[in-house]
Symmetry: C2
Subunit: 468 residues, 2 copies
Amino acid sequence: MDRIVEELIGIVGEANVLTTADDMAPYLTDWRGRYRGHARAVVRPAATAEVSAVLAACHAAAVPVVPQGGNTGLCGGATPSEAGVAVVLSLTRMNRIRSLDPDNNTVGVEAGCTLAALQEAAAAAERLFPLSLASEGSCTIGGNLSTNAGGVQVLRYGNTRELTLGLEVVLPDGRIWDGMRGLRKDNTGYDLKHLFIGAEGTLGVITAAVLKLFPAPRGFATAWAAVSDPAAAVRLLGRLRHHCGDRISAFELVGRPALDLVLKHIPGARDPFSAPTQWAVLIELSDSLEGEGLAETLAGALGAEMEAGLVLDAVVASSLGQAQALWALRENISEAQRIEGVSIKHDVSVPVSRIAEFLERADVSLKSQWPGVRIVAFGHIGDGNLHYNLSRSETDDNASFIARTEDVNRIVHDLVDALGGSISAEHGLGQLKRAEIRRYKSTVEMDMMEAIKNAFDPSRLMNPGKVL
Amino acid sequence: MDRIVEELIGIVGEANVLTTADDMAPYLTDWRGRYRGHARAVVRPAATAEVSAVLAACHAAAVPVVPQGGNTGLCGGATPSEAGVAVVLSLTRMNRIRSLDPDNNTVGVEAGCTLAALQEAAAAAERLFPLSLASEGSCTIGGNLSTNAGGVQVLRYGNTRELTLGLEVVLPDGRIWDGMRGLRKDNTGYDLKHLFIGAEGTLGVITAAVLKLFPAPRGFATAWAAVSDPAAAVRLLGRLRHHCGDRISAFELVGRPALDLVLKHIPGARDPFSAPTQWAVLIELSDSLEGEGLAETLAGALGAEMEAGLVLDAVVASSLGQAQALWALRENISEAQRIEGVSIKHDVSVPVSRIAEFLERADVSLKSQWPGVRIVAFGHIGDGNLHYNLSRSETDDNASFIARTEDVNRIVHDLVDALGGSISAEHGLGQLKRAEIRRYKSTVEMDMMEAIKNAFDPSRLMNPGKVL
């Protein structure tokens, strides 16, 4: 038997070291089936000390390690290479909530806890853990941290990074860093936790975290508003922020082609307006104060903007059911696009002030080269984050459409870069954008990243082939 | 002439290289006069390219560099050593606001801009830059970033770190890292900016930053409330967060001895209550929504807590003048304590849930050893941050009181550490706590900090003798 496998069995027991093809299969491909790899073993430790022993053993034997959470990533960051030399380290058995401190508004949680389980634990203590993603039922906190996950409430509460106060990390050689501090203020040297957040497991393994909790909102208001173009959407956001301040918890842009796909493919989906409009925004306000009349506040603000000509039409949900129906129009875009057929996707961000320019220039470039291409643009424009996806024209075929991916990426990513944006806003780099990012980052920045990698993982055993 | 001085003159011109004792004096001592150093020269570049050339020249000549902003730090982090071999690099001529983007809610600003000038620029664009400190008229953004400054609005808006989206940094060898991105979402590799924030100039020189702006609040409510003890203050904070959510922009604890010093030494200071109370909190709500009736909200919440017995007495300011008078009671504590005489000060944090325990246990320990010592405790308890200061007993003399500093620190810092706290919440380490921190950080954490230092500044020329 493989020597390292024997050692792993000695650490976590035979039941938690998977080595057959069938047992390992779920861990060796990403959930979209875009990446497939091989591994010597999948090891499933249940405690920090076991993770430490696993990493020490792999380090001593020079065996690469691929950390994995819920395996819901979009960039292949948790899939091993095809070489079959690595050990996949699954954190899903480390899923305890270690402590919840309501007075400090913090929760200590292990990496393998699912996001949904953490949200529920917070709610049970009358608190909010605001991170919210499509995959929340199966993604894990460790994965959220390692990819600095975003989602729909970033506008108000920030990314995973901003929600984190402390970390516990096992370093590549097995040493444990206990940085589980639940402090809002701690200025005692370099901030080490931010190195590991978003590092996609290339510097060490996050085993636990102390995360912020917030007062549970007790009032919500949801609206769907039509605007003439993205520039009007950005102006509306500015005016609503001025009037409603921090209450804005979501502000999502939806283009007509995106909405049309939802209306075509999702049962029960209904256009909120009788006449089609080109662009719409989904707005949510929330507040922890009781009896706030948030819906009236939102209706009043949108009414004033209709009179001013900025908003073309608007509907404010008058029931939870209506609010959910509006949210479903936004949340089903990806699913509707999947049913429609293949697509070329981008997860990009630009300064909020450049969104309109980005959309306009990208549309012109792409449509002049490929007439008829459908641009399915939507996203979290309060964060400058667009999911800018292309579906083929009616007359095109899948193969020739997909063959253009590189050319399309060049147009979209070059423009993002020219506007001071990011080619990976919330999904990370993984395998997917590892080469692409070198086109846009300066030599100095790549050198700095390499210096950090060499400082923490000089043997380059942690998640090789990802990020760097 | 000193060869490096000649080179510096070649870069920034003779007028901006100070070498005489008189010219250099203001840069060679901290504003409290606790640290004094010597230097070969003070160099005052006006642009990033000049900073780059200065660092490249110093690097080539192996000359240490001490970056300095407004020189208002409290830990000696900007004062050179007595060896007289270093060049002090003053950033105050780099004070431009490069760009302000209202739609993106960001401002690009150079390191030498004062905090007050930045606040004013934001206000002129109907935005808020929320960082607020006693030294805001003279401290600079570069210093705020390098020490991750805190202040009174952290509870709502976060430390300087949380307010930062992008940085421009000159590395120790003179290379320029352009990380001036104004993005809320950017997951393209390691987050380099967080390494330099709070690093006190030991890894490179921050020359500019992109910072977040917020909607300008248009309504305020301020109150002073008496509570029986710190545990009641923490409970009150929890209940107010539940009711008022994000509107709470300040929640400051003031102990009786602190208030007594203000009433004794500050002209015009007046106790809000006729009967003395042991503990009080200063509460501020703010909101960007118009016509919110914030004062009524706050009065209603405090009234309910008085009926419930949690609040003993309360006054809500009914005018701007009254609000300022309440704030003056809090803001003049340091000044009143200075007039009273010498003190032993601590800037510590613990989880909010441990504040009461910290205050109780520290009081018992200190008073049992030194009967009559006066404990002047106050601070930002929403962030778990206490300024825990001691004034001597009436019968004690200054010299024997100050001689106990080490013994007092041991009691206070050991207890902070035992409660999961930080011995430097918002002031940094500088020279003052460089040795002290080694008592409390693990070997692993110190090793990680050393690894980063070696990766970025292997020649150890950047601000030697600080932090590490």
